[in-house]
Amino acid sequence: MLKLNDDQLMLQDTVRPFMADEGKIETQLRHWRDIGCKDGFGHGLWKQFADLGLTGILIPEEDGGSGLGQVEANVVLEEVGRNLTPSPFLTTAVATVRALEGTEHAKRWFPTILSGETVAALAVDEGAHHAPAQTALEATRSGNGFTLSGNKQFVVHGASADLILVAARTAGRAGETEGITLFALEKGAKGLGIENVALADASKAARLTFDHVAVDADAVVGEVDGGWAPLARALAAGSAGAASELTGVAAGAFGMTNDYLKERKQFGRPIGSFQALQHRAAHLWGEIEIARAATLKAAQLIDEGSSRADLFVSVAKAKAGSVSRLAVQEAIQMHGGIGMTDEHDIGFYMKRQAVVDELFGSPNYHALKVAGR
């Protein structure tokens, strides 16, 4: 059934008010931005995520987690998107947990992810566009371990992270998925330069420089030269999760806009009574429903271990990306002047959309994957 089951609906019933109350723009996103918080999110809220069991949503029950799946993670992420709640949930509890599951690193990190102490980040992109197979950061064997040299960018939460998963090349050449090795790097590594970059949505993503950073052999996640396997799991989960967050961003912006259409009067009547706006709103509503269905499909296929999961993950990320882009554009336009002011919350939706749109690959990147290119 392509709908949430009763347990999933119950989770939604818990998470929705939590995020709306505790994760709302005024006290989280706007607050941390205005005080210039270096993390871009609040550790207190992250602890609350942990207390609610959300940080362990994908961690197996035997490791103390809930042992749930992508569908459940996405239930959380849609609410995150709807409220623009800043947190390291996607990078830590979704992508990183997926990368580490079944590896030696799970024991080391799952307990502190569960407790909300660990923030984790993924260092994949090396240029301005997501292209994981193009990984070129060099890892050369050195003694019992490896030496990493190169650059990474768009490492979301990189400067706040206790753990950074780094995709590096141990064999093959840029463009090949073979020969990539994934390393678990703890913070404070020597030779690692971190520039904490503020993005348009007030989140932080680091630029990293690796100047002969030495790591032990046991920093390898999975197999040497076989890092694509854990990386692909992380990227699929991250992309599907980002699709859900984007659906939430779209739904949040749309909800605010639809309310405004009923309230705001111009020429003596609510602007929502103007047919041109009605048709645009109705079209957008349908598109958001479609994005949500596509995203749910992708999550279900991941949870089923289906061979079609990758296809639908890309469908979901591309569709949720383009739909949410339309949603935030319509939101600003329909709000008129007030929507252009920083004082109003709607602008945050446009900024956040742009960042998540790019994260784990743009709609174009994923559309090309769907088309088999």
């Binding site: 598109e287 429903e289 499909k297």
Partner: protein, 385 residues
Amino acid sequence: MPDLESFARDIRSWLEDNVPASMRTPMKSEKDICWGGRDFVFQSEDQKAWLDKAAAKGWTVPDWPKEYGGGGLGPEETKILRAEMKRMGVRTPLTSFGISMLGPALLKFGTEEQKQRFLPPIARGEIRWCQGYSEPGAGSDLAGLATRAEDKGDHYLVNGQKVWTSYADQADWIFCLVRTSKESKHGGISFLLFDMASEGVSTRPIKLISGLSPFCETFFDDVKVPKDQLVHKENEGWTVAKYLLGHEREMISGMGLGGGAGSSLMSEAIPDADPILAADLARFDVDALAFQAMSEAFIDKLKAGEAHPAEPSMMKYAGTELNKRRHELVMQGGGSDALEWESERSKGGAKPRDWLRTKGNSIEGGTSEIQLGIIAKHILQLPGA
């Protein structure tokens, strides 16, 4: 569910024993559809044999009650039957508006007598029905219809004109909206059934821009309709019509799915020299596959009784717009080859004719604008103008 499993086994073996081999091959054209009716010319012995066998089992309408010619199957059983037929490549034994439209309306609103009289001949493919809704000048404003039915004691006298009546020239009977009162727009409409062979009924096919004529204009000149052929109450036909419109919209949005809107274009040949078309196709594939997921979600919601009554409007809108876009891309991919209108090479201009035909998708069954208005009003609850 062991019962359902043995049910599936039984179906399989019955189908294997009873469906003629030629009825397990894909249909080659629209001509292979079995519509039934008084004047229907069967394409083959096998087509007739398969209809008769299916009808005898009630499987032309598997989910109708047995007493009205149906199979008496529950929803799960019906689903299994359909899935098995699809898996085995068995053709649909009978397709008709009687099955898809009038039947559900009669089952809900008909009198016991009406059900017994009309449903079994539909199930057996003996009577072919057409739908008399649209009128010239009314268009999207369906309830603005003017065909009038005067009360003449034991019968109604019907005068007026319908348009867009699908295959009216081949139908035996019509279910028809008529005006029995002018006092209120929606409240003065009645739902009548009558024989197209009645005196005073005439039809004229409408040629479409695709060159084909699946629709007719239908004229009523002093047509006498016995009063027991009124469905539901006088002046309350709009209730029946709305129920059926919902059905039609679901059917059309389903068509969007089955008819290709939900399937991707990945297999279409893309000219190497046109990366822009390749980009459009990639985006189409995303949208088509996303809509495929939406269709699945929509059906599951419908089954669970959780769909908002206005949601079929979204499905109809999105599905038909997608299908139009699909055919625009097919035309672009086809280049000047796809412009050929009559050549054998182009299968009689199948591509451009299909393309032109899709332009009607967003008009028939309620225009895209009507659907958007329904969503805005009933789901978004935006205020009236």
